[in-house]
Structures are given as structure tokens and as C-alpha cells.
């Protein structure tokens, strides 16, 4: 069954407090060399064939991402 991966991230201009909290914790925990952390959401969907990518983009735009503050990438994975 085809698998579709959607990654939803805050737009670059939107502050990401979760990412900042992780970035702030890293040196305390002994991890150096990380310059930036941003956190988003990752969705894995299993869909029927044939894959209607335009429709899936509509789904992601409507339901998975908040287009005011977020942007997404969608990938149909090879079988």
C-alpha cells in the first residue's frame, strides 16, 4: 500500500519555543556543536491506489498543517 509522508514545520519567521528549549538544554547535557533546533510534526499515511497527490496536498493543507503559521512538505514514498 502506498505510503505518504507529510512533514509540518513552523514557518521560519515563527518562533519555535520547543526547538529553543531543546537547543538550550543541549550544552547542559554535554552535547556541543548544535547551532539550531526546530521541531515539527511528522505524519505517515497509508493510502489506497491510485495516489491522488493533489488531493493529499489539500488534506495536508486543511487538516495536518495550519497554513497561517506552518508549512509542509509531502512525499509519496516509492513502493
Amino acid at each position: 500500500m502506498p505510503r505518504v509522508v507529510v512533514d509540518v514545520m513552523l514557518k521560519p519567521e515563527i518562533l519555535d519555543p520547543q526547538g529553543s528549549a531543546i537547543l538550550g538544554a543541549l550544552p547542559r547535557l554535554g552535547f556541543d556543536g548544535v547551532r539550531s533546533v526546530r521541531q515539527g510534526k511528522h505524519f505517515e499515511l497509508e493510502v489506497d491506489e491510485p495516489v491522488d497527490e493533489a488531493r493529499l496536498r489539500e488534506l495536508a493543507d486543511t487538516l495536518l498543517a495550519n497554513s497561517v503559521i506552518e508549512e509542509f512538505t509531502l512525499q509519496v514514498m516509492p513502493l
Copy 2:
């Protein structure tokens, strides 16, 4: 600057109520043909060179994923 992407998902045997809620909402909202939805977390890190992948895996395992219930994939993106 090298970019590292970490995707954290619940292990397949762990129930995913967020994914189930989305899956349940889809037909009501007019989206058919989706058989399964699982939701996880997506992290994008910018790190200094040289990239120490083993150390980054330790970071992901310790800080980004809860290894009791989650698993992660880590990808160092080409520059």
C-alpha cells in the same frame, strides 16, 4: 552548515491516539482512501562540521525520543 533530520515515531505496537483521531475525522471531512495515519515528531538540526553521526544518534536517543515507546530515524542531509 550541515542539516540533520530526526523523525521520531511511536513504535508500531504502541497505540497512536492522535493518528487515530485524524484517521477518524477524514471521511467526515470528505477525504476517502486513507487507511492509516500515524503522527510523530520531526526535528531539524543545524550542526557544526565535522558531523559526528554516532554522537547525534546518542542525542536523538537520549533527548528527542523516548526509547521505551518511540523509535527514530536520523538522516544527515547532503550540503
